[in-house]
């Protein structure tokens, strides 16, 4: 089904996937003597849901941090829209259209859901400090516009009822949803989700899966996610990268990866000689 030379492919459920949005070329990342990622290459295509899976310590989060520009690999290069990406500050990456959520929720606990979501629009605010303080002219226009965007996302993720609730008072599952809302309101081209289902019960997982699919469907957002729950990954994603001990051991559609002997060994363990 996959043809890497072509300009995209059609998924099993009939969605059209576009060209390469982001490409990792021979990435190696070291922390001192520890090699976290060893010579990994893969790409993320426009409009697809791409998963990165692997056992604990495989280097998944490091990989995500490379994509988000938080870590700079010692070797290899990251291409965004076909152009090599120089080392950047995270906010510069955000301006490029990459947004993310975190494994262990990073929201502002004392602020309301709405305010938290609005922070996702910060990179799009250009009014000066004075104008913002007086809430006059451009600042007012910008905020109104951003509020509309925020409200649409709030509506989309069905969190209207907690709009004014301080985030610290929310249960875990809802916090995750608020974090997704904050990432989404930045209107990213590429959305990075770091274990979006971690610590959730079955119902919350189902809800979250639904939202991820809807986001992809409704806004055409490209999504790269890390996930532990194999069932979820296989159901959600179009293509899966499997990592183990910092190396790539599999790459392809879920069914193909599931049948890959290296992957099975990595997950179930194998007798080493």
């Amino acid at each position: 089904m996959l043809d890497d030379t072509s300009d995209g492919y059609i998924t099993t459920d009939g969605r059209r996937i576009g060209g390469v949005l982001m490409e990792m070329r021979n990435i190696t990342l070291r922390f001192g003597g520890v090699v976290a990622i060893k010579d990994i290459s893969f790409d993320i295509r426009e409009g697809e849901i791409r998963a990165i899976i692997g056992p604990n310590g495989a280097g998944k989060s490091s990989m995500l941090n490379v994509i988000s520009g938080f870590y700079h690999p010692q070797e290899g290069e990251v291409l965004f829209e076909g152009k090599p990406r120089p080392p950047m500050k995270p906010y510069q990456v955000a301006r490029q259209g990459i947004a993310r959520t975190f494994q262990n929720i990073a929201l502002f606990n004392g602020m309301s859901v709405l305010d938290n979501v609005m922070t996702g629009r910060l990179t799009k605010m250009n009014a000066g400090l004075l104008a913002q303080g007086l809430w006059y002219g451009k600042a007012e226009r910008e905020e109104t516009e951003n509020r509309i965007k925020a409200e649409r996302v709030i509506d989309f993720l069905e969190i209207q009822h907690i709009r004014k609730t301080p985030v610290g008072r929310l249960p875990y599952g809802l916090k995750k949803r608020v974090e997704l809302a904050r990432a989404l309101v930045a209107e990213p081209r590429l959305l990075l989700l770091d274990e979006p289902m971690a610590g959730m019960n079955v119902e919350e997982k189902e809800d979250m899966s639904r939202f991820i699919l809807d986001v992809n469907d409704e806004f055409g957002t490209t999504i790269a996610l890390i996930e532990h729950d194999m069932g979820v990954v296989m159901d959600l994603s179009d293509r899966v990268v499997v990592m183990d001990y910092g190396k790539k051991i599999g790459d392809g559609p879920p069914d193909e990866v599931r049948a890959n002997q290296d992957v099975i060994d990595a997950y179930l363990g194998v007798a080493h000689d």
Binding site: G14, R15, L114, R147, I148, E151, R152, I154, D155, F156, E158, Q160, H161, R163, D214, D217, E218
Partner: protein
Amino acid sequence: MASDVPPPGACQSVPALLTRNATEYADRPAYREKEFGIWQSWTWAQAADDVRDQGLGLMTLGVAEGDHVAIIGRNRPQLYMAIVAIQSTGAVPVPLYNDANAEELAYVLEHCGARFVIAGDQEQVDKVAEIRDRLPELERVIYLDARGLRKYDHGALHALSDLMEKGRAAEALHGPELDRRTAALDYDRKCVMLYTSGTTGKPKGVVLSNRNIIETSRASSEFDHLDCREDVLAYLPMAWVGDFIFSIGQAYWTGFCVNCPESAETMMTDLREIGPTYYFAPPRVFESQLTNVMIRMEDASPAKRHLFEKAMAHARKVGPDILDGKPVSAADRMAYRMYDLLIYGPLKNTLGLSRVRVGYTAGEAIGPEIFDFYRSLGINLKQLYGQTEASVFITQQPDAEVRSDTVGVPSPGVELKIGESGEVYYRSPGTFVEYYKNAESTASTKDPEGWVATGDAGFVEEGTGHLRIIDRAKDVGKMASGALFAPKYVENKLKFYPNILEAVVFGSGRDHCCAFVNIDLTAVANWAERNNVAYGSYQELSQHPEVLRTVGAHVAEVNESIACDEMLSGCQIHRFLVLHKELDADDGELTRTRKVRRRIIEEKFADLIAGLYDGAEQITTETEVTYEDGRKGAIRATLNLQDAVTFPSGGRMAAE
């Protein structure tokens, strides 16, 4: 029955009323809906335009006069307008319960033979798609909220907005025919078909004519002096006759504004923001609001709690009298006014009931204590008694004649009579035309003279002329000793306690009564949190010894109060248990309007009832449950069966 012949030139249909409103109240709000955090409104003129576009859109799909068009979704202005648009094309709207599962939906859609379904969102579209192959007559599905539906096959699926646009473009082609069809609507034409939730058997399609709806709306609006300045909050199921009368019938008759909440979860916030002047809620809503207030007061500081209790004691003493305009001493009036400033006013505001001029509760008997609580705050809460077959109104309470134990005097134009068995019969302009495709049931419910059996037992109080309902006629029974058994009377007493959500009492033909109790998770979980009681699930919490003891104390108190009533003292509860699951409409234990289905519960939990009567202390049971998506599962639980303290008739001494 002279009143139901329309005067010449009168509006004889809802679309005709819309045309009138669009000129008379052109710039007044007809609908408001909170979307994206802001209240959006439609004026009557805009509503008329949208209805026309929808009507024309339906014409382009080939809707014919007399067709049934189903509507399923939560309360939204566009769906209300769809109902009127359907009527304007000469078709008959059939609103359905939006929480019905696919199976229930299949039955009614097949029964009414709907050619079109207007669905609120993806969830409803999916449900219809699931049963599509069983519905040969269904042609097209129209949806309102496009979310998640973009990639669906649009062969027989249309977005309402697209349809309206197509309709607008086809004005020249279909306009004259639409006008002709709207003009042809008269009192004898069908206005709507509503399916009764049915405490027994399959739902029945109640056909109501324009005469039924318009005459009833006119009479009831005049009864309470409603005018175009009222605000109502439309949050009850659109398939329910009450919502149809309030949000369509009375709204179009008087031209008032219907407000739709943002979502089911934001209902309370939206209620507070809108502050309706005319408010309707089933007892359950009032109960849960009161429970929430009580929980929050328990968490308040002692000083605040003391003030609250003092204020409420005073309110109970003089509040209802002040509301009814009875003489109250000046000192009491002053105190009431002061407390109003400090406590009642802010409390009413929190509840969203500050502006309520007329409030109604119906559907089930309301606990007197709950009823009095709201009345004592100065909220003009009244009771009415009605049913789908009567276009709601049978009896209602006039201002200043409000009591918790009656349901009021016959509504204007309604005649009442009590049958030999004690069953209540009525005849009115609102009396339904027929049950659709069910002549047999029609004949057994409505006699040739137009009298309809309500299925409720009651009597008309001498002197006041108020109707009092005892219970469902078929539920009122005799105990083995011959004493009167009225389960609902006992259940309502139990349900007043914030900890108790639902109760089911058994005892017909037995020596004594036993009860099932459902705890109210909001209240009990709050208690558990404050007392450091750990629990893993609803089931575990329900069987916690402390919870059982608390419920036992409530049961004992109820027994004590029942013992004072000579006639009903036999209904004291001897043994009870706390159920391991909440009674649920998805499992068939409640109707969609959340009334207890006694027979089904009796069958389903037969082992538990047997246990209660044979003296067992513990029972392990397995219960089938249905999840929201229709899948089935089973839960196992071990329940503790408890003895209750009972009291001798008339006495106050405890006796085991």
